[in-house]
């Protein structure tokens, strides 16, 4: 069934969009990532204009993250205190990110820098997570107990605060910094930033994996809601019809994903996320390295 999207001004198969939303929703529920790093390239592939794809996927992320967050709330796996601290950093960061983004835009080449950002960050994070999870799995196989490091350098900083749900007593400076750097990146790359925040929370802050997912969802909802409003008011590129189709698939997927996630071991969950991140990274890197079929591209004239 073909459907005409009023803002994107293209006609797309409705079931294809529902399916895309569903897949991304499952991932969002399983891993606590918004899925923006996945859905935006997929929408390009379907033929949605890039500006509309970026703006609309942020709206879809709000929906699937909210659905997943509710599921986590029931399980009490959300550290609200940590969430607010991260969010405070995140809003500062996305403000800074917007300034950086507009500066890059004035230089031209913003597309290339965004893609390079993706390749570098996805590559590093995916690689680190993959090898760390492999090591953890091997340790559990040998029968030894998984030991979580209790003392990082971040624990020596001032302004300490107790995060009861996470079982942490650490300074607020590292979470604010994590939130801010994710905010910067999400403004530049047009994503929620969960795929960066989840590993940062696990490896930098030492939070338990189960709490990390719910907490990052909380932060993602606010950051993406803020971005949606920015896109809607400045560029008019949010397509409600596209968003509704994606999010109907997405919210259902998120519920399924959360249930799958609960049944799986933390290490398995992490290794799957790592593989997924590496796959997207590889695809983007190939696009940069291989000769494109069509060397020319069309775009609107700006300014």
């Amino acid at each position: 069934m073909q459907i005409y999207l009023p803002i994107a001004e293209v006609s797309v198969n409705a079931f294809l969009l529902l399916g895309l939303g569903g897949i991304v929703g499952i991932l969002s529920g399983m891993f606590g990532v918004g899925g923006g790093f996945l859905i935006t390239p997929l929408l390009f592939f379907v033929g949605i204009p890039p500006a509309v794809a970026v703006a609309t996927s942020t709206n879809q992320i709000v929906a699937s993250s909210f659905s997943a967050l509710l599921a986590h709330l029931k399980r009490k796996t959300v550290d609200f205190r940590m969430g607010w601290v991260l969010l405070a950093g995140g809003l500062i960061g996305s403000g800074l990110g917007m300034i950086v983004f507009n500066y890059l835009k004035s230089l031209g080449q913003v597309d290339l820098l965004v893609t390079l950002c993706y390749v570098i960050f996805l590559g590093i994070i995916g690689g680190l997570m993959f090898f760390e999870s492999l090591r953890a799995i091997r340790r559990t196989r040998k029968g030894g107990r998984v030991k979580r490091k209790k003392h990082y350098w971040v624990h020596g900083l001032p302004l300490k605060m107790r995060f009861r749900v996470s079982g942490l007593y650490i300074s607020v400076i590292p979470p604010v910094l994590v939130g801010a750097s994710v905010g910067v990146l999400s403004a530049i790359m047009g994503v929620g930033g969960g795929f960066i925040m989840v590993p940062a929370m696990i490896y930098l802050l030492g939070m338990p994996t189960k709490v990390v997912i719910g907490t990052s969802l909380l932060q993602i909802i606010f950051v993406t809601a803020f971005t949606t409003m920015l896109h809607a008011t400045t560029n008019q590129t949010v397509d409600i019809v596209l968003a509704v189709l994606l999010l109907v698939g997405g919210v259902l997927g998120a519920q399924v994903g959360t249930r799958i996630g609960v049944r799986m071991q933390a290490e398995q969950l992490r290794i799957l996320l790592a593989l997924l991140v590496l796959a997207v990274c590889g695809k983007l890197a190939l696009d940069l390295l291989l000769k494109p079929a069509e060397l020319y591209s069309l775009g609107p004239v700006t300014g």
């Binding site: 293209v10 949606t228 809607a232 999010l247 069309l298």
Partner: protein, 254 residues
């Protein structure tokens, strides 16, 4: 000699005398409505040639139909390999390119239309695109216009259909034009040319109105005129859908 014939042609065109042959036109629809399930549309352009004298001897009557969507400037960028990766390097702004353009003829375009007539009436696709000043440092700017045509032809936005017009007894003609699903709104200029031996002997212009209707129209207007409310609406839908799915699944589990 060619110049002389061109001048004569111009002189003849300028004559206010009543044309020997006139076009009487019909359209299967003068308006295309873009609804939610819009999936392209086919427009039938048909008509007859009205004349008070017998059919002239010599070259037979040929018909050229063009349909052109609203024109906008387009930025064409070229990728090149730099440091091992493919990067956008040169860019050329094409001043005006129609969002949709179809040329339907009753025979091979080069035979039914002389080059000079093409230049005058801007009929073929390269003529319908206007590209002036490319930056000095760009070596061959025509490559960029060619790329524009290639990309849009690949997505069916630019079409040349030779033999797409059926002409009966040099009097009746009809042509079907397929509009793709990815249409933009606006007035689509439709022109019909009658030619003999490559010269335009009569022409007729009309407009097909393409517009969004119903929900499509309402959302488009809201997004542009009440952007803040539109943004809040999309967030509201997102949150409701998220909550709704969670509630439904909660009920199902019980």
């Amino acid at each position: 000699m060619r110049l002389l014939s061109a001048l004569t042609g111009l002189f003849l065109m300028a004559l206010p005398a009543k044309a020997a042959e006139e076009i009487v036109l019909g359209l299967s629809q003068a308006e295309v409505s873009i609804t939610t399930n819009f999936d392209g549309s086919e427009i039938l352009v048909y008509g007859a040639v009205k004349r008070e004298t017998p059919i002239p001897d010599g070259a037979p009557l040929e018909v050229v139909v063009t349909v052109s969507g609203p024109s906008t400037p387009v930025m064409v960028r070229r990728k090149e390999r730099r440091f091992g990766i493919w990067v956008n390097t040169d860019a050329v702004e094409v001043d005006r390119a129609p969002s949709f353009y179809a040329v339907v003829t009753s025979g091979p375009l080069s035979e039914v239309l002389k080059r000079i007539e093409d230049l005058r009436h801007r009929i073929s696709i390269p003529r319908a695109i206007r590209s002036v000043g490319a930056p000095m440092e760009i070596e061959n700017p025509t490559k960029f216009t060619e790329a524009l045509i290639r990309v849009r032809t690949a997505s069916n936005l630019y079409q040349v259909i030779e033999d797409g017009v059926k002409v009966d007894e040099q009097t009746l003609f009809r042509a079907a034009i397929a509009l793709p699903a990815a249409l933009t709104e606006g007035a689509y200029d439709t022109r019909i040319f009658l030619t003999r031996a490559g010269d335009v002997v009569a022409q007729y212009e009309t407009v097909i109105d393409v517009r969004k209707v119903g929900l499509e129209r309402w959302l488009f207007k809201l997004a542009h005129e009440q952007a803040f409310i539109y943004g809040l609406l999309s967030l509201f839908i997102a949150i409701t859908a998220g909550w709704g799915a969670s509630a439904v699944f909660g009920l199902l589990r019980r």
